[in-house]
């Protein structure tokens, strides 16, 4: 089971969109993932307990020094971009 955080500024809108799109993409790729969506502050403090963090490219800088993989997305709604970046990062 891959443990995933989806993060955005307020933890309300964009992170939920990332989460919903990720769920679809992971299902298509046959990866079993548990996704939690929250705000950046919370995500930072919890990131070490997760395998990977997804957020907007503009927020990647916030996650310096985390053990988890951090993947920045340009288009939060693009399943193609997610698939590509998941494969490039070798997640399974």
């Amino acid at each position: 089971m891959l443990k995933v955080i989806a993060a955005c500024g307020s933890g309300m809108g964009s992170s939920q969109i990332i989460k919903m799109k990720l769920q679809k993409v992971f299902k298509k790729l046959g990866i079993d993932a548990d996704i939690y969506h929250t705000n950046v502050g919370d995500a930072k403090s919890q990131a070490n307990n997760y395998d990977v963090v997804f957020c907007s490219e503009s927020l990647v800088g916030q996650f310096g020094g985390t053990k988890a993989k951090v993947i920045g997305l340009k288009n939060l709604l693009s399943e193609a971009e997610m698939t590509e970046k998941i494969e490039a990062a070798g997640l399974k």
Partner: protein
Amino acid sequence: MDILISVWEFFQNNVLTKPQFFIGFIVFAGYALLRKPIYECLAGFIKATVGYMILNVASSGLVGNFRPVLAGLKDRFDLTAAVIDPYFGQTAAQQAVENVGRSFSMMMMVLLIAFTVNIVLLAFRRYTKIRTLFITGHIMVQQSSTALWLVLFCFPNLQDPGVVLMLGLLLGTYWAVASNLTVEPVAKLTEGGGFATGHQQMFGIFAVSKLAKYVGDPKKSLDNLKLPGFLSIFNENVVATGILMTIFFGIIITILGQDLMHQIDKGFKANQNFGFYIIEKSFNFAVYLTILQLGVRMFVSELTNSFQGISEKLLPGSMPAVDCAATYGFGNPNAVTFGFLFGAFGQFIAILGLIVFNSPVLIISGFVPLFFDNATFAVFANRLGGIRAAAFFPFCSGIIQVLGGGFAAWYFGTSQFGGWHGNFDWDTLWPVIGLIMNYAQYVGVAAVIIVLLAIPQIMYRRHKDTYFVIAEDYDEYKKIEAKKQGVPVDQVVID
């Protein structure tokens, strides 16, 4: 018959007038309709109900924390005060609605009807020219709350069914029309990202994307700017709210003075240091906002999930209208912080102006409009007008937010409860709609709906050839534009 009446009364007293259970049952029913297993329906019911109850704890905490300060301002300067922030606004609207003895459950009914209206407008897009479905759940909750109070303010004698139907129609039309306005700006910014903005500053985005090219030069963009590193702490909600509230309440409470605060705030113990009292008081706002957001997140995530499902299943070829932050990845990384800074600059100047000119209401900057509206404007402005536009529009927006929000908080009376919605459209368009409703009553509501519905018709008439193409197939849109400009597709200029 008697049995029917008593069943209805039981339902009314225990569910209909108790928003937490009403929302819980709606989620339960929604999941049941989606044929989810019964245990998941139950889990949804519990999460939605508990989420709403958490929200209630937080909003009474917010109000309780604010009350002594409001009392002090009234006592000392005969002032009311409002934080312009959608969470404070939602709380103030809820207090105002309950204060006149109406049920806040109506908020949820308004939301569902408005969402349905948006679906219907989209389904008949051949006639309505609507291309977008608003699915940003937490925003829909906030806007339904504030708009519910506006309607009750303007129509105090209208019965509940009339209120929810009329407002559902009005708000649903606004969601559809306003998010539809952002199709072109967002598509051009994201080069066909496949979404529109469904947030709180949609008219603002439209205006900025029309005006930015007159203000600056896109070649002088933010790229070469180096912003000081400490600004990154404002990316965190709790930190930003803590800092903002400490600045504002620090000043206000210091002016009110230690003696007065001892008199009106029982929570201020005789042996507590004044400075630490101020910090505790200010940080309390960050505490309750965090709790409030936790509650909203719990019951809204259930909602948004099903909205997203509906938008994908029912309406292929349409666009989801989502959170404004989804555009940030496409903007210059500096734009977000830059917009926030200049918005803050504008707001602070306007607040000083209010004080100098003896305004009856004092405005306190809230984090959400300051950050999310102005950052969004900067992202759009920078693309077409470079650094000058990215400074100019957030700065103007900051001023407008304070003046418009101040007027609305005063006129609609939510400053008694310490808040106003505060985001751009709710400091400009909605106070005007409120005024029209108040003076022209039903005729006014009808007129507003007709004018709103005319907007997509006008847009369609101006670009008949590309109006639907830009939403459905961006590459095709570029080809059409290239043909018009007489250049190859890779040299086409889209502004």
